[in-house]
């Protein structure tokens, strides 16, 4: 492995710095850390726990569906499993794992020492974790959500689902949505205000662009799902009638609200995944990404158009034809930005020198799978075709090609690409390639036949099917494929565990990559950069050799640029457009407050769930006390110019 050494940052007393930034050992440090890298890794590991849990649910379901009239599972358990599989994959794996990568990588890629709001960052993780535990605790009490992940009302109304099952789902979504919102605010401010001097918007790595689009989309979309499920919970818990037709409510309103979030959500997941691909492909093509501005523009365009397509989930609900034609058109148009990205990737490889590492294989696998998922996506935008295939296995195939193939494959690629940076150890390439091929083959055996099953008339979400329908052979094939796919993911899990102890040391820049996260050691120190790098190129590590680092200036605004800033636990704040220093942001010390507030909120949701006023009020009280305390102590790092000297 070629290791390119960049000149070390200006000499500082590193041991002293490390000590200064060090978290307390053991559990106190674990609960109170605000280090974006620890939090990011935590996100990733927690998400993968949920990923494997939901994957096991899928395997059990495939065991049930492998043969007709099978009785491995009863209908209730099956319905619970497919609900929790979808809920987990969307809310507890895909969305947060991308936030996890963003958390870890964005400050490094921007050349700064932490996120803009480190404590808020810890807070969003704790909410996510507690939200996940909240939803999964439904297994302990045997009231697992069973309304499907998008839980249409009236099925999820109190009349037709009186149990706690739906409340675990509805309240859990509101709760975890909070985490996404808080995280997105943090990303946006970090990206606009903490970039290293010289990193203008058109020099940001594409992954940063993609997380910026992710965050803005989340900011505008998440309120819709919060309201959809939140108003439904008001109906359920407090007897309002938003979605009760008998009292003037509308069940379609729920669908509009849900999909106003739901379709952007697909792109919320997909955009950062393509951002990862746009980092991996150029690195292993040894060539800058073709059409950088086209790609960045495509990401932004997707963000906008994705808010105009939600109704294509509702083509069978009897809407006026004109409305449907509009949304059908928008759904066709949204493929264009993806096409732009596609050809940018092809051009990059075409003119570059491709090295087939595991990460690159996952990227190429992604291209081949997403191509098909995109094409079937165009098909379902065509109204008359959609009426035939919607809610059939064709759609199950389509969205797994998109959400599994085009999001999970890039995430696995990202694991192989960035895990060496995060742990300091290389993953085994041999095991990695094996894992890729097993996953790729298993994926296609699993999901390709589902298209045909849809054509044969198999609806989604049925726990069994009759012998005489001729679906048995393909279903058996799908089930075998899913086992193969599962095995492939397990190989990577093993690879990760093995490399933690035995993997070769990664060095700062094992891939000869271009962005700033590779300028610091692997794993990076808590402060990321003793001195802030100065950027003059879109590819600082390729074009700026040696990479220059800033020194602290005389003025208060530039005091944080050099190692002196790291000593004071500061990171420079720069102006949003031209990245000129504006001041310094104090990186807060460890604190339990985010954890305390998150626990308070969790107690509030538990109170709502069990209708226990005492628990709920106590939770609100704890959260409010924590938040006020937090706000009070925040004073000193609110504004760069606000800190008392010394």
């Amino acid at each position: 492995m070629a290791v390119t050494e960049h000149p070390a940052p200006p000499p500082v007393e590193e041991p002293e710095l490390l000590e200064l930034w060090e978290d307390a050992p053991g559990l106190p440090g674990f609960l109170s850390t605000v280090d974006h890298k620890r939090i990011g890794l935590r996100y990733i590991y927690t998400c993968f726990f949920f990923f494997f849990a939901a994957g096991l649910m899928a395997l059990v379901m495939r065991g049930q569906l492998a043969r007709p009239n099978s009785t491995v599972l009863g209908p209730q358990v099956y319905n619970e499993l497919f609900t929790m599989h979808g809920v987990t994959m969307i809310f507890l794996f895909n969305t947060p794992v991308l936030a996890g990568f963003g958390n870890y990588l964005i400050p490094l890629q921007l050349g700064t020492r932490d996120m803009a709001f480190p404590r808020l960052n810890a807070f969003s993780y704790w909410i996510f974790l507690l939200g996940g535990i909240f939803m999964y605790s439904s297994f302990l009490v045997g009231k697992v959500p069973d309304g499907g992940w998008f839980g249409y009302t009236p099925l999820v109304s109190r009349t037709f689902s009186p149990g706690l099952n739906i409340d675990f789902w509805g309240l859990g979504i509101v709760f975890t949505g909070l985490s996404t919102t808080v995280g997105s605010i943090n990303f946006i401010v970090t990206i606009f205000k903490l970039r290293a001097p010289g990193m203008t918007l058109n020099r940001m790595p594409i992954f940063v662009w993609s997380m910026l689009v992710f965050s803005f989309m989340a900011i505008f979309a998440v309120p819709a799902v919060t309201l959809a499920t939140g108003l439904n919970e008001l109906d359920r818990l407090f007897g309002t009638s938003f979605f009760l037709p008998a009292l003037g409510g509308s069940v379609l309103l729920y669908q509009h609200l849900f999909w106003f979030w739901g379709h952007p959500e697909v792109y919320i997941l997909f955009v950062p995944a393509t951002g990862m691909i746009s980092q991996i492909i150029p690195t292993f093509s040894h060539r800058a990404l073709s059409g950088y501005l086209w790609v960045a523009g495509a990401l932004v365009t997707v963000g906008f158009i994705s808010f105009g397509v939600w109704v294509h989930h509702m083509f069978a609900t009897g809407l006026p034809p004109v409305a449907m034609a509009f949304f059908s058109g928008a759904s066709l148009i949204i493929t264009i930005p993806s096409g732009v990205q596609f050809f940018a990737w092809i051009a990059t490889m075409w003119k570059g020198t491709v090295k087939l590492t595991t990460a690159m294989l996952f990227a190429i696998g992604f291209l081949l799978i997403f191509l098909l998922g995109g094409i079937t996506g165009v098909m379902v935008a065509v109204l008359p075709f959609d009426w035939q295939v919607t809610d059939s296995y064709f759609v199950v195939a389509h969205f797994h090609y998109v959400l599994n193939g085009a999001v999970v494959f890039p995430i696995f690629g990202a694991i192989y690409y960035w895990m060496p940076k995060m742990t300091g150890r290389m993953l085994s390439e041999r095991l990695g390639k094996l894992s890729f091929w097993v996953m790729f083959v298993g994926f296609n055996i699993t999901f390709f036949p589902m298209h045909i099953l849809g054509f044969l008339g198999m609806p989604r979400r049925i726990y069994t099917y009759d012998n005489g329908l001729g679906w048995g052979g393909l279903n058996a094939m799908v089930s075998i494929g899913s086992a193969i796919f599962g095995l492939g993911t397990a190989i990577t899990l093993f690879n990760w565990a093995w490399s933690r102890r035995r993997g070769a040391a990664a060095g700062a820049d094992p891939w000869d990559a271009d962005s700033l996260e590779w300028a610091t050691s692997s794993p990076p120190p808590h402060y990321n950069f003793a001195a802030i790098p100065l950027v003059a190129s879109r590819h600082p590590l390729w074009d700026q050799r040696p990479l220059p680092y800033a020194e602290s200036g005389e003025e208060p605004e530039t005091g944080g640029l050099g190692p002196g800033g790291a000593v004071k636990r500061e990171t420079p704040v720069t102006s949003g457009i031209d990245t000129r220093p504006e001041g310094n942001l104090e990186i807060p010390h460890e604190t339990y407050l985010p954890f305390i507030v998150a626990v308070g909120l969790a107690a509030m949701f538990v109170g709502l769930l069990i209708k226990g006023a005492v628990v709920g009020v106590a939770g609100i009280g704890l959260a409010v006390v924590g938040a006020v305390w937090w706000a009070w102590r925040t004073e000193e790092d609110l504004a760069p110019s606000e800190r008392t000297p010394g």
């Binding site: 059409g291 291209l367 065509v382 726990y463």
Partner: protein, 304 residues
């Protein structure tokens, strides 16, 4: 879906084959680019300079898709209009999605009701008025037409025509609760003469009477036990509308929303242990002596 028996489904099938051809072409071309790029990229020398490939990017990424999507947009608009147009002389059928069966009635034929089996005449357009009084379901008979949801508080229309006689199976396509998987039905397309005879007999008669002593005893049991609390048999005191209308039960092809074939043995099983046939469904088990059970089965099977 590709084995179509109606013009509506056939139109969609035509759209599909057009899209399939386009999709195959696009996939081959783009995947070809990817593979060549990877292979080619493995040998050439390296240069990390900022590339100028914008022409390739916008030709492939914008111009080509716009052309293809333009074609699809035209197709969409044309077929959509064709599919949803009403015709004169339609046959109206009201379908209500229930948990987990289909209530079917013929408003133009005195409101005659049946369940899970929709008879239609071949060659005449049918206007299905779809609604629900509980959760959302979706009406789908793949060989005849696409789906339309049944939604509480609104009536949706689905127009379809069968061009050949036959029995076409359908199923609920929108997840609707524990027995979503067993919410099937059949559409029976018959020659217009046969259909008219079928409908007239049912819509004008005052109801059937037991045809044997055993069946007569069955009627007594049916009215005495819980059966009549949910079901209707026209001409008797049983007029509840919670479960399917059983007035002409004997002539139906299946039991429990196309879950079991309609035979005396499976009917006996369904009556006594519905929860093992279709776990979680809303029909409670009825405990009957063997004689009573045989009588009820004879009674219901005789209603045809």
């Amino acid at each position: 879906m590709l084995n179509t028996h109606g013009p509506e489904a056939r139109t969609v099938s035509g759209v599909w084959w057009l899209m399939f051809a386009l999709a195959a072409a696009v996939y081959v071309v783009v995947a070809g680019f990817i593979v060549i790029a990877v292979l080619r990229g493995r040998r050439t020398g390296r240069s990390k300079k900022e590339p100028k490939d914008d022409t390739f990017v916008w030709l492939g990424g914008i111009v080509a898709p716009v052309i293809i999507l333009g074609v699809l947009a035209v197709v969409t608009v044309n077929t959509t209009q064709a599919l949803r147009a009403a015709q004169d002389g339609e046959l109206r059928i009201a379908v209500v999605g229930k948990r987990w069966w289909w209530d079917v009635s013929y408003p133009d034929a005195g409101g005659f009701r049946t369940a899970n089996e929709i008879h239609i005449p071949v060659g005449r357009q049918v206007d299905l008025e779809l609604t629900s009084d509980n959760v959302i379901h979706s009406f789908w008979v793949p060989q005849l037409a696409g789906k339309v949801d049944t939604i509480p508080g609104q009536v949706n229309h689905l127009r379809l025509t069968a061009t050949e006689p036959g029995t076409y199976r359908g199923q609920c396509a929108e997840y609707c609760g524990i027995q979503h998987a067993h919410m099937g039905m059949v559409v029976v397309a018959e020659a217009p003469v046969d259909f008219d005879r079928w409908l007239t007999r049912r819509s004008t008669g005052a109801g059937l009477t037991p045809t044997s002593d055993l069946a007569a005893r069955g009627e007594v049991v049916f009215l005495r036990e819980t059966c009549a609390g949910c079901h209707t048999v026209r001409g008797t005191q049983a007029d509840a509308q919670i479960g399917p209308d059983l007035s002409y039960f004997g002539s139906r092809e299946s039991i429990a929303s196309n879950t079991l074939a309609n035979t005396p043995a499976s009917l006996a099983r369904w009556i006594t242990e519905p929860q093992s046939v279709k776990p979680g469904n809303l029909m409670p088990p009825t405990t009957l002596s063997p004689e009573d059970r045989a009588a009820v089965v004879a009674y219901l099977e005789g209603l045809k």
